[in-house]
């Protein structure tokens, strides 16, 4: 196994493009190293991106934030401005593992590992975050929801690497939230995860909303009908019940060691409703 730690994005893309055999990007390594240790993955080339200066930066941009691919989740949690603008994304990133894990783990790694249960992904999808991808043919921008295609699989072509994720600016009276269900209180993998982001008008009516679901299908889903159920409402009982129903209806889960289909479907609705209530509180400035 060859280990490289290039200093520029171009060098990383060059190495990846030329690689023979299996190549993997190493960000925090909290997924990759586990896979190496257990022997499920035996790459020929590992490219560490933590020496690429622009990948390690978290910067304000156009009223939003650009998160470099090597920025650990702990850094997100410590940034008051990001926390204020996108509290739901930050709370999702700060659910990953534990304090120790968050000192290493990145949201881009979470995204590119392509686990359907990745915590930060539904939150970033609800936030309409955009990933920047660099490759042999230059740069492209991709909605985060289009990166993962199936468990462990991404839409990235050979030689491509995600360099950053952009969290956009947002209007006043907006709020977001992420909730997950785990049978314990930490150090577990989401059985269901729900991200909700919404914006209220001055009259308190919901003008826009995005709802994303994790761990209920082969990849995180945008639940458009669930969002529609609350747009144009004040998130009254009826709207919230419709939201829950639509979120449950969007699920395409499997039975596995972490939960049954029926459990995931039911709990997706429950969490969608609770996350919407939390996002609403934040939008109202509470």
């Amino acid at each position: 196994m060859q280990y490289e730690a290039p200093a520029t994005i171009d060098a990383a893309v060059g190495l990846l493009s030329k690689a023979q055999g299996l190549a993997r990007v190493l960000a925090g390594g909290t997924d990759l190293l586990v896979q190496l240790k257990s022997g499920t993955l035996e790459p020929d080339l590992v490219i560490d991106i933590k020496r690429i200066p622009e990948m390690t930066k978290l910067v304000a941009e156009n009223g939003g934030f650009r998160i470099g691919a090597a920025v650990p989740c702990a850094v997100l949690g410590e940034n008051a401005a990001v926390r204020k603008l996108w509290p739901g994304v930050v709370e999702a990133a700060n659910l990953i593992g534990s304090t120790q894990i968050q000192g290493r783990a990145t949201v881009v790694g979470n995204l590119c590992n392509a686990s359907p249960a990745a915590d930060s992904v539904p939150a970033m999808m609800a936030a309409n975050a955009i990933a920047t991808v660099a490759g042999p043919n230059g740069k492209r921008e991709v909605p985060v929801g289009d990166i993962a295609t199936a468990p462990g699989k991404t839409s990235l072509a050979k030689g491509e690497i995600v360099t950053s994720v952009f969290l956009p600016s947002r209007p006043a009276h907006s709020g977001d939230a992420y909730l997950r269900f785990i049978p314990r209180t930490e150090m577990d993998i989401a059985v269901v995860g729900v991200g909700v982001s919404l914006t209220l008008g001055d009259d308190g009516v919901c003008k826009a909303a995005r709802v994303a679901l994790g761990a209920v299908a082969a990849r995180a889903l945008l639940a458009e009908d669930a969002a529609k159920a609350i747009v144009g409402t004040k998130l009254d009982e009826k709207a919230l019940a419709k939201l829950a129903e639509a979120a449950s209806a969007a699920c395409r889960p499997i039975d596995d060691k972490r939960g049954t289909k029926e459990f995931r479907i039911k709990v997706a609705g429950v969490l969608a409703r609770r996350a919407a209530e939390k996002a609403l509180e934040r939008a109202r400035g509470k």
Binding site: F181, P183, D256, G259, F263, V270
Partner: protein, 755 residues
């Protein structure tokens, strides 16, 4: 063991009952302590094990020629490297290395020793095993069906008359009890009968099995190993390898948890065989995945429990059917588990029938009060349901039936002084029992019992030249026992605790010691320590007598000093332990106390647990709000470590109740062989576990000590189930009571209510 007259009255102690720091504490928190995987040796090789990917398969052939030819590979072993046998070690032999058939996924098929981990890994891939995959069975009820896949074609059920002519997966039938249950049920005003299932759990010790084996060309071997019993390891390994016991010296490392799971061998004979073949030391360390797949979890069970009572709650009869599967070999603890599980109450009529069943799962190993939590779950759930139906206070209902001194137990003996009533009263008096519960909250009560064990024990106490002492015991310290040993030696000798240092001696330094199990160590090694101290004191008095020129009988020992017994004996200044030690060379040489025996009269420990939970009705998530353990310790030598045992058992039981389980796929493979998906409770899942130590002295121990390590895991599954059942208004009968299971039960209840 004759009763010590000193125990007949409750005595006052100077040191026993205090809470000094444990001697191994600093090393453990600073990382200086050496565990199983921390040993190294010059020229050491890495040993790795090839395991069956199939739940059940005939091994047609094993071809290791390519692996043997790989540079860096120094030895490959298979079942051919172990002589077959027909004695009672045969199951262990077949478990540590499959012979002819792989009986469960993870069963060892071959092993390699190589110069590095990566070479060893490559070598494993080069070993070609030709398997014929066979149908498998992992569920206890299915394994008992007449057409179930058969694990052993020579397994004839024992305990059945007439003796069956055909083999089956039922290894044993057991039956015990007394009275006439039919008559008892006829007299009852209320009879409740329920079926229960519990899934297998793992002890979940944080340290995986690890050892370093070294066998020289002269046939002498050494083994460094993480185990609960290095004498057992020595004797079993020597026999499996055909070595003289004297040629194998085993040293126990510090141990990162065992809970019963390290009372047998897995990798140790394999490591020794590899080392013997390679002529080099070999270290084998299991991965967590291997620990789950190939060490010993508990039994899973299927049970029917029927209890009849009078209107006032007095039990008239209990009838139980218990089916325990214990993995691929006979030995599921349905006997002791069943006996202990019903032991809390006084039954005029009781019948327990049990089956020990084999399935294609790893061979079960002991887990804290082996087998008892499952039967207790069934008994205590039915008792709770009866108390609810009759609107009786659950503690009063238990008090009415509680086993006490003079009660004839279902397993035979009549109890001496025992503390169940005291634990029930302590629970009732505790503030936790009076807290008002809110919405979606429920309270559960359950009691529990474990026999406790004495066993073969040998200790040695050596006086150093400065008056400090070296105490050598042969029972690995899995819960702070070295601190308790030092306290007891210091108490007897009347010297400071810090002046005694206890070590776990290797197998060549002391006589045979049984494994650290059965909650026996503080009781048995502790009593041996007391007697060894008394032996030393006798010798110390003799030395003083010699110096003073008076008869030995005229010298007494008091708080660290030899003194003339009275004015008649003569007028001499008391002689301190320090002086006696300094003068030992001149008065007859080294001074030591010894004691070896087979300890009896361990004295059982009873407990009562009270737990409050809150269940989220929309997700089935259970939060444990508060948890109380009241347990009889006889005499708590070191109360902190007694409380630690109470808390540890409760936490493991909470995990068993709520989320821990072995999940098998249709292919017979374990789906969750890691701590991510095998969910033991994490710290943030738990409230502080409250404890109340009850002390009803055990007449079988000079200080009244009872073992406390195991009883604490017996009540939790039932207590939590009772609490959850009260919170959701549905009686739950299957463990674990995980969120999907609770939510499903709630959904079914809602559907029933809707009509």
């Amino acid at each position: 063991m004759p009763l010590d007259p000193a125990t007949q009255k409750i005595r006052a102690f100077d040191q026993v009952g205090t809470r000094p720091l444990r001697p191994d504490g600093l090393d453990k928190v600073t990382g200086r302590a050496r565990f199983g995987a921390d040993a190294t040796a010059p020229g050491m090789l890495v040993g790795r094990i090839l395991r069956s990917p199939h739940a059940h398969a005939r091994i047609r052939s094993i071809d290791a020629t390519k692996a043997e030819a790989l540079p860096g590979v120094k030895a490959v072993v298979t079942s051919k490297d172990f002589a077959d046998r027909s004695d009672d070690l045969r199951d262990i032999l077949v478990n540590i290395m499959a012979r002819g058939k792989a009986l469960y996924e993870g069963h060892t098929v071959a092993a390699v020793a190589a110069t590095s981990a990566s070479v060893a890994r490559k070598a494993l891939k080069l070993i070609k095993v030709d398997y014929e995959v066979l149908p498998h069975v992992t569920d206890v009820d299915l394994a008992m069906e007449p057409d179930a896949p058969l694990l052993h074609d020579d397994l004839i059920t024992s305990g059945v008359e007439p003796v069956p002519t055909k083999p089956s997966n039922i290894a044993r039938k057991i039956e015990f009890g007394h009275g006439d249950v039919d008559k008892g049920f006829a007299e009852a005003d209320l009879v409740v009968e329920r079926e229960f299932k519990t899934e297998a759990t793992h002890q979940g010790y944080i340290e995986p099995h690890a050892c370093l084996a070294s066998v020289g060309s002269d046939g002498q071997g050494e083994l460094w190993v993480c185990t609960q019993g290095h004498y057992m390891v020595r004797d079993v390994c020597a026999q499996l390898l055909g070595m003289d016991v004297s040629k194998l010296r085993v040293t126990a490392s510090e141990i990162g948890g065992g809970f019963g799971g390290k009372t047998t061998v897995f990798i140790e004979p394999v490591a020794l065989a590899l080392s013997r073949k390679a002529g080099r030391p070999v270290k084998v360390v299991m991965t967590r995945d291997e620990v789950f797949r190939a060490s010993g979890p508990t039994s899973s069970t299927s049970m029917r429990m029927k209890i009849g009572v009078k209107k006032d709650g007095r039990i008239t009869a209990l009838d139980a059917l218990l089916k325990y599967q214990g993995g691929a070999f006979a030995g599921a603890p349905v006997d002791y588990g069943g006996m202990a599980g019903v032991a809390c109450y006084d039954y005029p009529n009781i019948r327990v029938v049990g089956y020990d069943v084999v399935t294609n799962r790893p061979k079960q190993a002991a887990y804290r009060a082996p087998g008892a939590p499952m039967t207790a779950f069934a008994v205590e759930s039915v008792i709770a349901e009866i108390a609810d139906t009759l609107k009786l206070d659950p503690i009063e209902m238990r008090l009415k039936n509680a086993a006490k001194e003079g009660t004839k137990s279902a397993y035979g003996p009549t109890f001496g002084p025992v503390g169940l009533v005291e634990t029930l009263k302590a629970a009732k008096a505790h503030p936790n029992y009076k807290v008002k519960l809110g919405k979606n909250q429920g309270r559960g009560i359950a009691s529990g019992f474990w026999f406790n064990f004495g066993g073969q024990t040998c200790v040695s106490l050596n006086l150093n030249i400065d008056g400090t002492l070296a105490l050598a015991v042969g029972t690995p310290d899995i819960g702070g026992s070295r601190a308790s040993m030092c306290l007891m030696a210091a108490e007897e000798l009347g010297i400071p605790y810090e002046n005694v240092r206890a070590i776990i001696a290797d197998t060549s330094s002391l006589g045979y010691n049984d494994v650290t199990d059965g909650s026996r160590v503080t009781f048995a090694s502790g009593m041996a320590t007391i007697h060894a101290a008394r032996d030393a004191i006798k010798k110390l008095c003799g030395r003083a007598a010699k110096v003073w020129g008076i008869p030995e009988e005229a010298v007494v020992w008091e708080k660290g000093f030899a003194k003339p017994s009275g004015a008649n004996a003569g007028n001499f200044e008391p002689m301190s332990l320090k002086e006696l030690a300094a003068n030992a060379a001149k008065t007859g040489g080294p001074i030591a106390g010894h004691y070896e025996y087979n300890a009896e009269n361990a004295g059982p420990s009873f407990a009562t647990h009270v737990v409050d939970v809150e269940v989220d009705p929309e997700t089935g998530f259970t939060k444990v709000l508060r948890y109380l353990v009241c347990q009889d310790a006889g005499k708590a030598v070191h109360p902190s470590y007694v409380e630690g045992q109470f808390q540890g058992g409760a936490v493991q039981g909470i995990g068993w109740a709520l989320n821990e389980e072995y999940i098998y796929g249709a292919d017979g493979r374990l789906q969750n062989a890691g701590f991510l998906d095998y969910r033991i409770p994490v710290a943030s899942d738990l409230p502080m576990i409250d404890t109340a130590i009850v002390e009803v002295p055990n007449p079988g121990h000079p200080y009244g000590v009872r073992g406390v390590g195991e009883t604490s895991i017996v009540p939790p599954m039932a207590a939590v189930s009772n609490a959850v059942s009260h919170a959701v208004g549905i009686r739950l009968t299957e463990s674990p009571m995980s969120p999907p299971r609770i939510l499903k039960a709630l959904g079914e209840q809602a559907a029933r209510k809707a009509g």
